[in-house]
């Protein structure tokens, strides 16, 4: 067992444990803090996969923006759901069963993947030019410029939509 494998097993166990605590903790503030831990674990896994840029993006976008947004939402909606009441609905056993079934089905599918046995990936040919290639591919007409533009429009629409939806409705009456 190589050191890299040991690191992977530690990080994987940490990530899975944090994810389990995210979905089981009754206190939502604790759950969102564990969510940050799980996201950080995934960032470390990106580093293990030699995708350093994506690891940085994961930290900046997920931990820096999304997790903070979730914590804000938890704090703004805190009064209504006390930490003592039931946090799972009546059909939680069905949810657990379907999650287990999906997990088993995915494991069964993995044995069909032809590349699953490729244990030793070749070293990346031009590790330094990788980020440049990613940037160029996102604006290259022949590659991914269309998904890139669609993602931009989606982000703009989401921004406008979030502002419109979250704006207090009573403001117009108050101003008149």
């Amino acid at each position: 067992m190589t050191p890299l494998q040991i690191v992977f097993l530690f990080v994987a166990a940490f990530t899975l444990l944090s994810a389990l605590l995210v979905v089981t903790r009754p206190n939502l503030v604790h759950a969102s803090l564990w969510l940050i831990a799980a996201l950080a674990g995934v960032a470390v896994l990106f580093v293990l996969l030699e995708a350093g840029f994506l690891a940085a993006v994961q930290v900046v976008i997920y931990i820096g923006a999304i997790a903070i947004l979730i914590i804000f939402a938890v704090m703004l909606t805190r009064r209504v759901m006390s930490d003592s009441g039931p946090q799972v609905n009546r059909n939680w056993w069905g949810a657990a069963l379907s999650a287990l079934l999906i997990f088993g089905g995915l494991l069964g599918l993995f044995s069909q993947v032809p590349a699953v046995g490729s244990a030793f990936p070749a070293a990346i040919a031009n590790a330094d030019g990788l980020l440049e290639d990613l940037g160029r591919s996102l604006v290259d007409v022949n590659r991914y410029v269309l998904p890139f533009e669609v993602a931009s429009v989606l982000l703009l629409a989401a921004m406008i939509g979030a502002i419109v939806i979250a704006r207090p409705a009573a403001r117009e009456e108050g101003e008149e």
């Binding site: 190589t2 994987a12 899975l16 804000f72 059909n91 949810a95 995915l106 993995f110 890139f148 939806i165």
Partner: protein
């Protein structure tokens, strides 16, 4: 080196945990947390397949970046919706948000 199957099994477990959170939690914010876990598992799979199967093509990373954008917009709109519902109905429990149920 780490076998590809380890990453796939981890991503599948992460996805299933997120799915359980989405299906079982009552609080709408907790449901969004489950969705974030599932999107993370998808990203992990994309990057793992990029690294092990097609390291020459940048497609895996490019699609992971798209998933990031989708996750960010989904979180923003979802939380705005939750705050709006909370302001009007004083609840964030998913089963009590039944305006569109008939």
């Amino acid at each position: 080196m780490i076998p590809l199957s380890w990453f796939l099994i981890l991503a599948a477990a992460l996805f299933s945990i997120g799915l359980y959170g989405v299906l079982a939690r009552r609080n709408a914010v907790a449901i969004l947390m489950g969705i974030e876990l599932m999107l993370n598992a998808v990203n992990l799979n994309l990057v793992a397949f990029w690294r092990y199967v097609a390291p020459g093509s940048i497609a895996g990373q490019a699609f992971a970046v798209m998933v990031f954008a989708v996750a960010a917009s989904e979180a923003a709109v979802g939380l705005a919706l939750i705050l709006s519902i909370y302001r009007q109905r004083s609840t964030v429990a998913a089963e009590e948000i039944n305006l569109l149920k008939w």
